[in-house]
Symmetry: C2
Subunit: 155 residues, 2 copies
């Protein structure tokens, strides 16, 4: 599963780089579909990943507000900061806990750790698919999404 996280992070970093060519207006413009703007989508991916991971860890949710992270630089910093925690957790957690049920503050249902990890992975890929359409609508080439042909380094 770590390979999927590394894939998502590599693709996300490319999108954060890709965004540098956009104006603030294009970054923040409310678009049709998904959760709204390009920058808010990236913020939402980062926020969701961390919130679900914190829930698995049994830690309290860290609530972040987009109003406090509404620039590309701040979103990139948020991504990097959370990632450190997530890497450490994933590297030290055991697959034996996969069936353990987890409660989250934003949903009444409980889910297994395994379900949540799958959810985090699929969530980011899904939203990145949306970014790719918006990119073309802006007349720009999206970041490649192929999984094959990447070279992942541990960590």
């Amino acid at each position: 599963m770590m390979n999927f996280f590394q894939y998502n992070w590599q693709v996300r970093d490319k999108w954060l780089d890709w965004c540098k060519q956009l104006t603030t207006e294009d970054l923040l413009k409310d678009r049709i579909g998904g959760v709204g703007s390009i920058l808010y989508t990236l913020f939402h991916i980062i926020d969701a990943e961390y919130s679900w991971l914190r829930a698995i860890e049994g830690k309290e949710d860290v609530v972040v507000r987009f109003d406090d992270y509404n620039t590309l630089e701040k979103v990139k910093t948020l991504s990097d900061t959370f990632r450190q925690d997530i890497v450490t957790f994933i590297q030290t957690t055991s697959d034996e806990l996969n069936d353990q049920l987890v409660s989250v503050p934003w949903d009444e249902d409980q889910y297994t750790r395994s379900e949540i990890v799958h959810h985090i992975v699929a969530h980011e890929i899904h939203h990145v698919g949306q970014l790719s359409v918006w990119a073309r609508e802006l007349g720009l080439r999206p970041v490649p999404a192929n999984f094959v042909g990447r070279d992942f380094k541990p960590g």
Copy 2:
């Protein structure tokens, strides 16, 4: 990894159902981003999944042309037919072969089985993200993409 295939198949079947409300024109209309139309996207997902899986199996690629499958019913039948083969293969293959290198006729590079399986999973989720934007552009609610809260049955 089987969970991801089951997730993708469940979501795909919901999209194939969802498409029943569209006119043929809307199904086949060339859209901005992705690989083109809504129906061609679904065809492309099914074709790509099967082609990569056949490559892993060391079997010759089955070339399918969209011109022969350009109705919703034909695409659904194609999906169901290929899926039978894929389920059988996944259930009988061994994780020990994950590092085995695979050649494919449409690419000069070789990839490991594990890379290819990751690629198939991410490929479908990515394209489904694109469908979700096009759905909203049509003023329609997309098929839910959440991984959590599903009940997978074997097979």
